[in-house]
């Protein structure tokens, strides 16, 4: 598709500078090691392949979360969103979860979505925590605005941290935002934010080599199958 760069300069929103998120590794309950690292724009087509099968899974609101995440990542890929980032979890190179968000301004972050592609291992919890860690510890923000689209998200974020209720509309629409303040973050951090740095070189090499993704049926089975937890 031809791109008119003169027009693009008008259409593309400004971007706040964002420091890199330093990768970390987490041992999961089954002993597997999950590398959490920041995606780059060029990773988006591969990530979307894993998101796509989730668009058709009604269980636990995977359809709406995936559809919105798909659009948000595409918007980032095509330069149509301001200051978005994406973190991903990989086990043995396989993509097992994705989180994204953006900067509303230098002090306020806007949390978007958390999608766990493998379930029952608290991958979503670890990735959401990494997202909050990025906003607070690496971008030095004061607060992050958050909504949940599924009851599981509500339990994991609003209840477990616990977040503070606000009347601020969230840009995803729906309900009012809940807020993670620095104070709440620091209180929750010892029990919810874990991970080792630096990531051993061989694990990092494996994660960087290729974003592997399970086939559609496997993804559907992991999320919506009988053993879905």
């Amino acid at each position: 598709m031809p791109v008119d760069m003169e027009l693009e300069a008008v259409l593309r929103p400004m971007q706040y500078p964002m420091p890199p998120y330093p990768p970390k590794v987490i041992v999961l309950a089954n002993g597997k090691k999950m590398v959490i690292r920041q995606a780059v724009r060029e990773d988006v087509p591969a990530i979307l392949k894993s998101v796509h099968p989730c668009l058709f899974i009604e269980r636990d609101y995977y359809d709406i979360v995936s559809a919105r995440l798909y659009g948000e990542l595409l918007a980032w890929y095509r330069y149509r969103v301001k200051s978005e980032y994406c973190l991903m979890g990989q086990v043995d190179g396989y993509l097992v979860g994705i989180v994204n968000g953006r900067l509303e301004n230098e002090k306020v972050g806007m949390s978007y979505h958390t999608l766990a592609i493998d379930r029952g291992l608290r991958i979503g919890s670890h990735l959401f925590a990494a997202k909050m860690e990025y906003h607070m510890d690496y971008m030095g923000q004061d607060e992050v605005l958050i909504v949940a689209e599924s009851p599981i998200g509500f339990r994991r974020w609003m209840v477990e941290y616990p977040l503070e209720e606000t009347k601020i509309p969230h840009e995803l629409g729906g309900g009012d935002s809940w807020r993670l303040t620095r104070e709440i973050y620091l209180k929750a951090k010892p029990r919810l934010v874990v991970g080792d740095r630096p990531v051993p070189q061989e694990l990092m090499d494996e994660a960087m080599l290729e974003i592997k993704f399970a086939d559609d049926d496997t993804i559907r089975e992991r999320i919506a199958g009988l053993k879905g937890r």
Partner: protein
């Protein structure tokens, strides 16, 4: 009284069965058991259904009548048996007595529950309705909460440690990973849930000192057996499994009314009755399915049924004595911990698992070598209504 044998056993995989209704699940398990029994054109005389929550969770009552119709078993007698998490065991007992008395010959017993239809919070609340309606429930007690307090007392009195609980958790998850009927077919890693600092997220405190992986999952599922008099069973093709003994005992509704809340008297009494009727003793048992809704319960029950002395169960688990291949393999199916705990199904599922063991039908990695006898303990309330069954292989 006639001797009674299990001639058919069936179970559907436990898990989250969004697509199935409770009646679907009960039907699938029943059909499997009836096929397994090889009854052919013969029907059953009676149906007993163990279920705790259809009235609350599905807004459906009289499910046994519905099942008899659904399976075209009319005009078989049909009763629903509700006894909390021991509903399955109580349904088996009712079937057993009906056949033993000579009133019926062929009886289908099925247990099932559909718990994932509601959120985890509501499922926890539903299970908590078995607590005392004035002294416990209004104060917010839950079964995990009770188990947490029980564990703390047990730790203080008998020196049980988190290492002991961990041994049960790892063992049962390891076995569950081999069981296609298990809800959680996933082996756990000690580092991931205990040693690593990351375990604080992977395995958070649920009800101190119990952590997430000390608790059974909330599951959907159903299991069924067909029973008949032993002399008729001997004419069938599969080796019958004799229900050699059963026992049932109750205890105070509230824990605080017990002289010693760590003493699970109903477990002791029910198993003593079962052993006496079977003319066997704990050391005669080849394999056991104990009601490990919480890891502490497997340890406590292993002592109360007589496998180990009081205070020795935790150490025995940590020493591998209760593992597959150990001195007394407990919960080779994965137990409630990994197979899952659809409350009304559990008591029947335990007997299905032991039947498979005693018929020597399981794959090598789960079949207890030359298993001849089995014990099941189905624990209702917090030990206020317990059923125990001793089963025995019968050579044809």
């Amino acid at each position: 009284m006639r001797d009674v044998a299990v001639i058919g056993a069936g179970m559907i995989p436990f898990g989250r069965r969004d697509e199935d209704t409770l009646m679907d699940m009960l039907s699938f398990a029943s059909l499997k058991a009836m096929d397994d029994a090889g009854l052919g054109d013969k029907s059953v005389d009676a149906v007993y259904v163990g279920n705790m929550g259809a009235g609350m969770l599905q807004r459906q009552s009289a499910i046994a009548s519905s099942l008899a119709d659904r399976l075209n078993l009319l005009p078989a007698a049909a009763d629903t048996v509700e006894n909390g998490p021991a509903s399955g065991g109580s349904a088996v007992k009712n079937g057993l007595l009906a056949v033993a008395s000579g009133y019926y010959d062929y009886v289908l017993v099925v247990g099932g529950e559909k718990m994932r239809e509601v959120t985890g919070w509501r499922a926890t609340d539903f299970v908590a309705t078995m607590t005392h309606p004035q002294a416990e429930y209004p104060y917010g007690i839950t079964l995990p909460g009770m188990a947490g307090m029980f564990t703390r007392l047990y730790m203080e009195k008998y020196g049980v440690t988190r290492e002991h609980l961990l041994a049960v958790s790892l063992k049962n998850q390891e076995m569950g990973a081999l069981n296609p009927f298990a809800h959680v077919e996933m082996a756990l890693d000690r580092d991931g849930i205990f040693d690593s600092p990351h375990a604080i997220v992977n395995n958070p405190v649920s009800a101190d000192p119990l952590h997430l992986y000390d608790l059974c999952p909330v599951s959907d599922g159903a299991a069924a057996i067909v029973i008949c008099p032993l002399d008729m069973a001997k004419k069938l093709s599969k080796p019958p499994v004799l229900i050699a003994g059963f026992g049932q005992a109750t205890d105070t509704h509230t824990l605080q009314e017990r002289d010693d809340p760590t003493d699970l008297k109903a477990v002791t009494l029910a198993t003593q009755q079962a052993f006496e009727r079977a003319k066997l003793k704990p050391s005669d048992i080849s394999v056991a399915e104990l009601h490990d809704a919480f890891t502490i319960l497997e340890i406590a029950e292993s002592e109360h049924v007589g496998f180990f002395k009081k205070g020795e169960g935790g150490k025995a688990a940590a020493a591998g004595k209760t593992r597959f291949g150990g001195q007394i393999p407990i919960n080779v199916s994965g137990g409630l911990k990994a197979r899952g705990h659809p409350v009304g199904a559990t008591g029947v599922a335990q007997i299905v698992d032991i039947t498979f063991q005693l018929r020597h039908e399981l794959p090598k990695n789960r079949q207890v070598k030359n298993a001849q006898t089995g014990l099941t303990v189905n624990f209702g309330g917090f030990g206020n209504n317990v059923l125990a069954f001793v089963l025995k292989r019968v050579e044809q």
